[in-house]
């Protein structure tokens, strides 16, 4: 049976530390661009702060790690790409981005309802010598292409290689975990196979407190969120827009 990899992000546990963002960037050889702004930075995983819009002692805040939602149905970026640079992998459900095919037209960025795609505005440059610290499993992407989270696909390749070397056809679930889920100090980001009914992550996705962002669009995202707080869940309801901090809105 084909896998459907996805995540459940427990917002009650997210402290907004940002470890997932840095771990993601380090894993995927994202260059440290000193001139980047919230609009131009490359952040395949971006933690946003949201509030209940109340001032004073009753104010509440939460943190929402935002990444590619890995839309399963009528994936907007796939539909609009003129270059077929985006596709949904049948075997895993991962929405794949192929930078070699990308023209850099940014149509997919416009189409993505979650603003989860980023344009590579600059040549990937590291301070002298720092290229020795790059992850050898991930190629450096060129300027002028769109990037996004691919659920650390290089780690999936490594897990497959390990399984093949051991003469197995299926990977061991413990061998494939994206960098953000591995880095989360509170275990807020959980990764698993949603197609496996007994997978703990699939079970959590069925929890009454689980929800998906902009579910009304019918794109069937494979990233679920969980919160026991009604005001947090209400942010994903139709008609509501995410109450994002003004500094972290992406265009």
């Amino acid at each position: 049976m084909n896998a459907r990899y996805g995540m459940v992000i427990d917002l009650d546990r997210c402290t907004g530390c940002g470890a997932c963002m840095v771990a993601c960037a380090a894993e995927n050889n994202v260059p440290p661009v000193t001139q980047a702004s919230p609009r131009t930075g490359l952040t395949p995983m971006l933690v946003r702060r949201v509030s209940n819009r109340v001032e004073g002692g009753a104010r509440r805040e939460a943190f929402i790690p935002m990444t590619c939602m890995q839309c399963e149905h009528e994936t907007p970026c796939v539909s609009v790409c003129p270059q077929q640079a985006v596709e949904v992998d049948d075997a895993t459900g991962i929405v794949m981005q192929m930078p070699q095919r990308c023209l850099g037209c940014r149509y997919c960025m416009t189409a993505c309802p979650y603003h989860a795609r980023y344009f590579n505005w600059w040549d990937p440059v590291w301070p002298a010598g720092m290229e020795k610290s790059l992850n050898p499993g991930v190629a450096v992407r060129m300027r002028g292409v769109v990037e996004k989270c691919n659920l650390c696909h290089a780690r999936l390749h490594s897990a497959k290689e390990k399984a093949a070397a051991a003469g197995k056809k299926e990977i061991d679930a413990a061998d494939y975990i994206p960098a953000c889920a591995e880095a989360c100090p509170t275990g807020a980001i959980r990764f698993g196979n949603l197609a496996d009914h007994d997978d703990p992550v699939a079970r959590e996705a069925r929890s009454p407190n689980a929800f998906r962002l902009l579910a009304r669009l019918g794109t069937e995202p494979k990233v679920y969120y969980k919160s026991t707080e009604a005001w947090v869940r209400s942010l994903a309801e139709p008609g509501e827009s995410l109450n994002l901090h003004s500094e972290v809105k992406h265009g």
Partner: protein, 559 residues
């Protein structure tokens, strides 16, 4: 056959049209675009065998265990180690990008003497001369290491002194040291057994006592539960990240923590909520309400909530004695779930003061945070891996390039605030650039009789083996008593295991307090980022600071 101009035009048109239906032009277009996007200066990851090694993060005193992925001999990625009982698999966001720090543009690669270039020979001669002319003060930022004992020995032999810069967690324990005589470094917070934690501005969910220890505990026992097993109450003027995720946020005015502690003590005594009768707080509730900006009912309710689910412990962000006195009143000192004694052996250290008089030279180790810059007339020799830029620490007479992240062998003593005595060894995994020397190597070159770091670690492993106590926690937990030799202990530690002292020391620790301490605090909110030992941030921290807005100063927040 005569070829006319018309024929040529027809042929050209047909060839052009035909070419368009072949892949050639499109392939050429694609290749040109790829060629123009892949300039030779775009780096490619180095190829080589990939291996995973174990070590510890040495950027701050918490010493989180790390799994370091190495490729072609260089660290290319780090991750936490879940078997470590303190860090529990967690690293802070700065740690995840720390392997890039060694190539930071601000890396200090050459000696500087008052802004001019110099040499190690000159530095050695100047320091040796200073040692001969007067006392030397050596300042350490991570006491308890093998290098620390080397510093202390050197200072002692030269009639100098050894000083330490305390971490926030240890600083908050100094009132107990004054009242009980037990060194602050031998004390810790037994958070694992507490049921109610009242934090007076301490960033518990923001790296306090290490990024993993409390965060994991909170996630397991408190997150998302309306009536959690672990109640975290955050007293803070700002809605910090800890306050945002706490079970209850008490927005008291900045600088009023001591007054609030006194007010809580008053309610606890008046309503007979605690067994202790002393010390009595001098403030009355109306005054407390005025200073804190909270209502009297809110303060009374907070006091009742605190004791509703014991054990309870109050945690200060600094060395606030009023909050320590509140713990004495709550019976949290020397008790399960409170402030406990973790070791019998910890040394008593003298904190480094902002002013250092009557010294001929001051040597500052690279583990000392850059915001520590003593006022002194002595010649200051400062070791650093990175240039401090405009920070006051950069004004030292000598700036001496030190090994960077994972570039030297060191040992890792217990984390500040930890309730357990631990010991680990962090091998140097990365190659240090030429012309770099640690403070321990520098002192060793001046006094060859000093024991090296490696030999001190070896000797400490020997002590651990002959102590026959504790457990080595690595891939498997192995009691030291089951090991056959000191060499086996050392081997396990070099492989990434951590020694944990599992014996209990907490019951023989009491504080005698005759009167409520008077505390005067300035009204200043504690801001992120907290002081951090490295003067520079890993380049990828731009994700936190400029691209996400997650780390910002207090001015931008709604209180």
């Amino acid at each position: 056959m005569k070829v006319t101009r018309r024929d040529l035009l027809k042929f050209g048109g047909a060839a052009t049209a035909g070419l368009l239906v072949t892949p050639v032009p499109w392939k050429l277009l694609d290749d040109v675009s790829i060629w123009t996007q892949n300039w030779p200066w775009i780096p490619q990851p180095a190829r080589g065998p990939v291996e995973v090694k174990q070590s510890f993060c040495t950027l701050c005193p918490h010493g989180c265990a790390m799994r370091v992925r190495m490729s072609a001999g260089w660290p290319v990625g780090v991750a936490g180690v879940s078997s470590n009982p303190i860090s529990r698999g967690a690293l802070c966001p700065l740690g995840f990008g720390a392997h890039q720090l060694n190539w930071h543009p601000q890396r200090l690669r050459a000696l500087r003497r008052r802004g001019s270039s110099s040499s190690w020979e000159e530095a050695r001669a100047a320091f040796a001369k200073a040692c001969g002319e007067g006392p030397v003060v050596i300042v350490d930022g991570q006491p308890g290491r093998a290098a620390s004992s080397l510093f202390a020995t050197f200072a002692q032999k030269r009639a100098g002194s050894y000083r330490v810069v305390l971490s926030r967690e240890t600083e908050a324990l100094t009132p107990y040291e004054a009242w009980s005589g037990v060194p602050a470094f031998a004390l810790g917070y037994d958070l694992e057994n507490a049921q109610t934690i009242v934090s007076f501005g301490a960033p518990l969910l923001d790296g306090w006592a290490g990024p993993g220890r409390f965060a994991r505990l909170w996630a397991e026992r408190a997150a998302g539960v309306p009536d959690p097993q672990l109640r975290l109450i955050q007293v803070e003027s700002l809605l910090s990240r800890t306050a945002a995720r706490a079970w209850r946020w008490v927005p008291a005015q900045a600088g009023s923590e001591a007054a609030l502690a006194a007010g809580l003590a008053r309610v606890l005594l008046d309503e007979h909520l605690v067994a202790e009768r002393e010390p009595a707080a001098p403030l009355i509730l109306v005054e407390v309400a005025e200073r804190t900006g909270l209502s009297m009912e809110a303060i009374s309710d907070l006091a009742r909530t605190m004791v509703a689910r014991p054990p309870v412990v109050a945690i200060a962000a600094d060395n606030n004695p009023a909050i320590a006195a509140l713990n004495v009143l709550l019976g949290a000192v020397g008790a399960r779930g409170g402030i406990v004694k973790k070791s019998k052996r910890a040394d008593r250290y003298v904190p480094a003061e902002a002013e250092i008089n009557s010294a001929r030279a001051v040597l500052i180790d690279s583990t000392v945070p850059w915001d520590f810059a003593p006022h002194t007339s002595a010649e200051v020799f400062r070791f650093a891996a990175w240039d401090g830029g405009s920070s006051p620490g950069s004004q030292a007479d000598w700036l001496l390039p030190a090994p960077g992240f994972l570039e030297e062998l060191t040992d890792v003593p217990a984390a500040p605030g930890s309730a357990m005595e631990t010991y680990g060894v962090a091998p140097g995994l990365a190659k240090a650039p030429p012309g770099v020397e640690s403070a321990a190597q520098f002192l060793g070159s001046i006094d060859p009789a000093l024991m090296t770091v490696e030999k001190t670690i070896h000797s400490r492993c020997d002590d651990l083996f002959h102590g026959r106590a504790g457990t080595l926690c690595g891939q498997q937990s192995i009691p030291v008593a089951k090991l056959a030799s000191a060499q086996q202990v050392e081997e396990q530690l070099w492989k990434g295991a951590v020694w944990v002292d599992d014996s209990q020391h907490g019951n023989d620790f009491r504080c005698e307090l005759q009167e409520w301490p008077v505390t005067v605090r300035s009204a200043q909110a504690v801001q992120w980022p907290q002081p951090w030992p490295a003067p520079v941030l890993p380049p990828l921290a731009s994700k936190l600071y400029q691209e996400s807005g997650l780390r910002e100063t207090a001015e931008g927040r709604n209180a």
